[in-house]
């Protein structure tokens, strides 16, 4: 069942178009940086972007920071929102659940397919970012500098980049869970994706308000940028652990709601 869903997802041209478009923005940023040699001023611009002018090997992290606030969540919301509602809109959902596989299994298969999409997308962004970085900028393949000014060996840099890729992937699980949950309530994939994006925009807006500080620790986007903390020395685990736990809570609660709705829903389309 999971293999069927994965095959279906990755055989669709729009999946790969989405991934390609996602990589376009970091490439444009890299080209502009090379042409102008103008790094963002301290405190402005995405994380790591000012550092890539001296070490292009850090561009995968800058690429993740570029796509993380908006483009990556949009891609995840579109794919996850389409997973159930897309079948309903196409009129294939009732045929799917007519098979002897059970609705719970179908929902789990849809979720796993979305999570694999998230992982593949994040890894592709990182790999393309690395290739662009070492091609367009001067790279220091022997070592890197941590955010705290200490030297990181190649092994440390690779391990921490791996952690960051994993963390960004987990951060997108909340988006996927929102979109998948909404996807079980509507026959419109667009409505499900927009619903998830509305939640994320509201979360990002509330995070900037001092008046919302009591609820800030529970906002789904609160800890997204904590992947930068892997590159401090020593690693700052506080927000990373909280970010992982928060995504876990959102995924469990939203999938519980999605499961309760989907397994009891009267599917007619």
């Amino acid at each position: 069942m999971i293999v069927v869903e994965l095959r279906k997802l990755f055989r669709r041209p729009r999946t790969w178009v989405t991934i390609a478009v996602l990589n376009l923005l970091p490439i444009i940023v890299a080209v502009l940086l090379v042409l102008t040699d103008l790094a963002p001023r301290p405190g402005q611009g995405p994380a790591f972007l000012s550092a890539v002018l001296t070490n292009g090997a850090l561009f995968p992290l800058a690429a993740l920071a570029i796509v993380l606030p908006l483009f990556l969540p949009i891609a995840v919301a579109v794919i996850a929102g389409d997973s159930v509602a897309g079948e309903a809109q196409a009129g294939t959902l009732r045929y799917l659940i007519a098979r002897p596989v059970g609705r719970t299994r179908l929902l789990v298969a849809k979720l796993l397919a979305v999570l694999v999409f998230v992982l593949v997308t994040v890894v592709v962004v990182a790999v393309v970012g690395y290739l662009v970085g070492v091609t367009l900028f001067e790279a220091e393949p022997a070592a890197g500098t941590s955010v705290s000014g200490t030297t990181l060996t190649v092994q440390e840099l690779l391990v921490r980049t791996g952690y960051a890729v994993g963390y960004v992937t987990v951060s997108m699980c909340g988006v996927a869970a929102f979109a998948l949950c909404f996807s079980t309530f509507t026959d419109s994939p667009l409505a499900a994706a927009l619903g998830a994006l509305a939640v994320l925009v509201a979360s990002s807006l509330l995070f900037t308000l001092d008046a919302a500080s009591p609820i800030a620790p529970y906002l789904p986007t609160r800890y997204w940028l904590a992947f930068v903390d892997f590159f401090r020395d020593p690693i700052l685990w506080r927000d990373i652990v909280r970010g992982l736990a928060l995504q876990g809570v959102y995924v469990v609660v939203l999938l519980g709601v999605a499961w309760a709705n989907f397994t009891t829903k009267d599917v007619t389309s």
């Binding site: 301290p42 405190g43 030297t151």
Partner: protein, 353 residues
């Protein structure tokens, strides 16, 4: 239940061993050499005037600042100011002080001989431990009282309140919460001014604490090869200003506040007061006075009267007064009335009014 857990932990009753305010103050002041590490966060509501040169300082008192701290003593510590996209670090050792700014890829070095007690405000000054010692070091026992106990950073904390006795003080009270287990580590400091009531003008607290001395290796620093290494001046732009300031014969007392000596302070700046009631008087060269007057005129929060232009940011008062060729900037944690009284007693100003 998950959502309620942090609230329950915060409201869980904290024990109080009945220690006196004077004993608690003594223990806190003696704890400067004790090692600890943790994460601190300060939040200020002080809307200081924004200028190009003082932008970082204004941010420090008006924004939320998160710091990682490794403390082994006043001359052996590391403080990282953590932001979403980088960090600005300070590493202090017996030899001197390194600063590191990741986003500028810049390191600065100050030898120990160049570090004095007078410098521009930095993140270090906002740590609950350093701020508490600064505020309590000159307090009289009569100004201190106990205010029960509470939970801070998940730990039981003993409350200590400072109410300044000086009638010219703009600080209404300072509440300090000291870790009950160690007895010497301040976990939270809240500064209230006369107008804010129950909302602190400045609140700095520890979010996580490990009350054991950190490894010295975590404090050591060697700048990365790519870094732009410079020589730091703790006085920063004050050095340039101080060199151009006119010499003034300051009185021994001003608005009832005694003059004080601070090591490293330029002699052309007059410093007055005690404890949390402090006043600085800076005579301004004509051009600097004109620039500041233009900035004050453009600030909608400034109040202009016969004496000059006034600004208030929480407990901090600012007064720009005098004629272009005989101007002063007065600033400190004193009431507007005290600022006016001090201005009128300054050389060359009192006789004009």
């Amino acid at each position: 239940m998950l959502l309620a857990l942090p609230l329950v932990l915060r409201l869980w009753p904290a024990g109080d061993d009945g220690r006196s305010a004077a004993d608690l103050r003594t223990a806190v002041l003696a704890g400067a050499d004790q090692g600890w590490s943790g994460i601190a966060e300060s939040s200020g509501g002080l809307a200081l005037p924004e200028t190009d040169q003082l932008g970082t300082i204004a941010d420090l008192f008006s924004d939320r600042t998160r710091m990682r701290v490794w403390w082994r003593g006043p001359e052996d510590h590391r403080i990282d100011v953590v932001t979403a996209t980088g960090e600005t670090d300070l590493r202090r050792t017996a030899a001197g002080r390194w600063t590191w700014d990741y986003q500028s890829d810049r390191a600065g070095w100050t030898p120990a001989a160049g570090i004095t007690g007078f410098a521009l405000p930095a993140a270090t000054d906002l740590l609950p431990s350093t701020l508490t010692r600064r505020l309590l070091s000159e307090a009289d026992d009569g100004e201190l009282s106990r205010i029960g106990s509470a939970r801070v950073a998940g730990r039981a904390a003993l409350g200590l309140r400072l109410v300044p006795a000086d009638p010219g003080a703009s600080v209404a009270r300072v509440d300090v919460w000291v870790d009950a287990e160690t007895g010497w580590l301040p976990l939270q400091v809240q500064v209230f001014d006369q107008s804010t009531g129950t909302v602190p003008a400045l609140d700095t607290r520890l979010l996580e604490v490990d009350p054991t001395a950190p490894d010295p290796a975590v404090i050591a620093f060697r700048p990365p090869p790519s870094a732009d290494i410079r020589s730091d001046d703790p006085l920063g732009l004050l050095r340039d200003v101080a060199d151009r300031l006119p010499d003034v014969a300051f009185p021994d007392t001003l608005a009832g506040l005694p003059r004080r000596d601070v090591t490293g302070a330029p002699p052309s700046i007059g410093l007055y007061g005690r404890g949390v009631t402090l006043l600085a008087v800076i005579p301004l060269p004509g051009r600097a006075a004109a620039e500041l007057r233009r900035a004050a005129d453009a600030d909608p929060a400034a109040v202009h009267d016969q004496l000059g232009s006034r600004l208030t940011a929480g407990p901090i008062g600012i007064l720009l007064t005098g004629a272009p060729r005989n101007a002063y900037l007065l600033t400190g944690t004193v009431t507007p009335e005290t600022l006016a009284q001090a201005a009128l007693a300054l050389p060359g100003l009192g006789s004009q009014r």
